[in-house]
Amino acid sequence: MEIMTVNAKAATMGNASWMGQHRHKLYSAAILLAVAVGSLWALSIDTRFLYLLVYVWFGVAYGILLQYGRFCMAAAVRDLFAVKVPRMAVGMMIAVALYALIAALVTLSGYSTFHAHSLGWHVLIGGLVFGFGFVFTGGCASGSLYKAGEGNLNSALVIFSISFSQALVVTGGGWLDGLTPAAWAESAAAKDMPESLTVTQGWFDLFTAGYIWDLKGQTLAESMGVAESVAATLFVNTFLNAILPVLAILVALYIFYYRKGYLRKSGKTNLAFSDELTGMWSMCISSKNTAIAGAGLGVLAGLHMWVTGVLREYYDIFNFGELLTAMGYTQGLSIQDTVFDPGYWYITTQEAQWGGWVLDKLGFSMMDSIFFGLDNGLPNPLLNAPGFMSIGIILGAAMLALARREFKWKLPTLETAAFAIAGGIFMGIGARLAMGCNIGAFFATVTNGDPSGWIFLLGMVGGGYVGVKVFTRWMDWKMSREGGCGL
């Protein structure tokens, strides 16, 4: 009996340890099941929700890859200056190259949903402010989403801060209006927009109607006057605008951040050209996870654009707002009956809509702004297709983090919460000035032939550099106050 008891106990312990060992995988599977059941439920209501579900599932896939590769574009800039590590910058360049190649195929197939961004000083300044902010938040816009999926509540706070700061930026008025040039007000007034938008009130409306709308958004081929053709897409927009700069940046990263360590590891004092190429390759695959994630994200981002393009043709629409109207959901649409629907990977605008939607429900006037009232609308978060992509990123990252036993609730402290909120405000302001974040204003642009993204990257690098300097000073000051830490 005693042996049996021991055996029974052992069996119970075995079961308990099996549950203990597999608990995280079960949670992970439960999230996958919930997304699948939710998708079927949405389709049972109306099959046209397929359009929204494309965002959801691409979001889940992005989240999985972001977590797998610890893929955060903030690290691409910050870690170069903070710890001289090019890992993420290399991963980002791999992603850009692959996205550019797939985007070229999508463009040639006629399914591209991309529109070039307006090019002006706002892109550089927005990049600077955004890059400064993400040093303090510990992640870019997408990075914060996947880290929230790992249980990091600091990152959740960053998302909250980005959401509300953007909503307030695009609807702010009062004394801020006085800081804008008179020419913006004149130009905005001349646009003959509906009175409900009050485009001559609110600094962001003046900025948009009086400045942004007067600028041109062009691909490199268009700005060079090259007629639309296969050669223009492949050679000018893909090779000259994306692949060539990527190669140049990889060479610079190799020379300034990797070659010295590679020389030491290889035991050589001089490198032949073939050795240099081997060294470059070694740099590209030094972090396999990051390289694989970069390649996967590049391919997925291109495919996402293609799938949305195909669905738009299938439903004969230009914007999800038309589909929502046809399904009987008309609340929260812009006065053009549209909603934010980029058709590709984008992050910050839907977060601005989340913040705006909450403020709208609290009684604040949101829809008299160009950003919400004319362009993006304020749909219920349950009908916000790109918003579900962001939620998908969180869920995808949570699934993988749980399966890898890396999920851990992490609570903010006063210091990290202050950084998350302040950094998130900078990111929110920067993203709206530049009309996008490191995804919308950089990743999606440079890969689709739009050179404005490189200007945004330049700003982001400058802002990241200053941010690291300020952050280092903060760390040094804090350590000197704590005295005994010994660092």
Partner: protein
């Protein structure tokens, strides 16, 4: 939660940055490794997965050896020998 860095033995140090997100863990690690002498061992405790990738790359670049890794349950305990 507070960062702690202390000597635990002859040539052995321990840096605990549990609870911190990027970029704190990698920046504190860099500072700690700069303080160590050649041959010293740093036991690094952290729970931010993405910092781990940067710390590995940083150690590879500077020739420091991450010779022991315990990555269970979202808590990372690594031993790094400074060259």
């Amino acid at each position: 939660m507070a960062m702690s860095f202390q000597q635990t033995g002859d040539g052995e140090w321990r840096l605990d940055v549990t609870g911190y997100s990027c970029p704190h863990p990698q920046m504190y690690t860099k500072k700690a490794l700069q303080k160590l002498e050649s041959g010293n061992v740093l036991t690094l405790v952290f729970d931010n997965p993405s910092s781990g990738e940067s710390i590995v790359a940083m150690c590879e670049s500077e020739g420091n050896d991450v010779f022991e890794r315990d990555d269970e349950g979202g808590n990372f305990v690594w031993k790094i020998r400074k060259t």
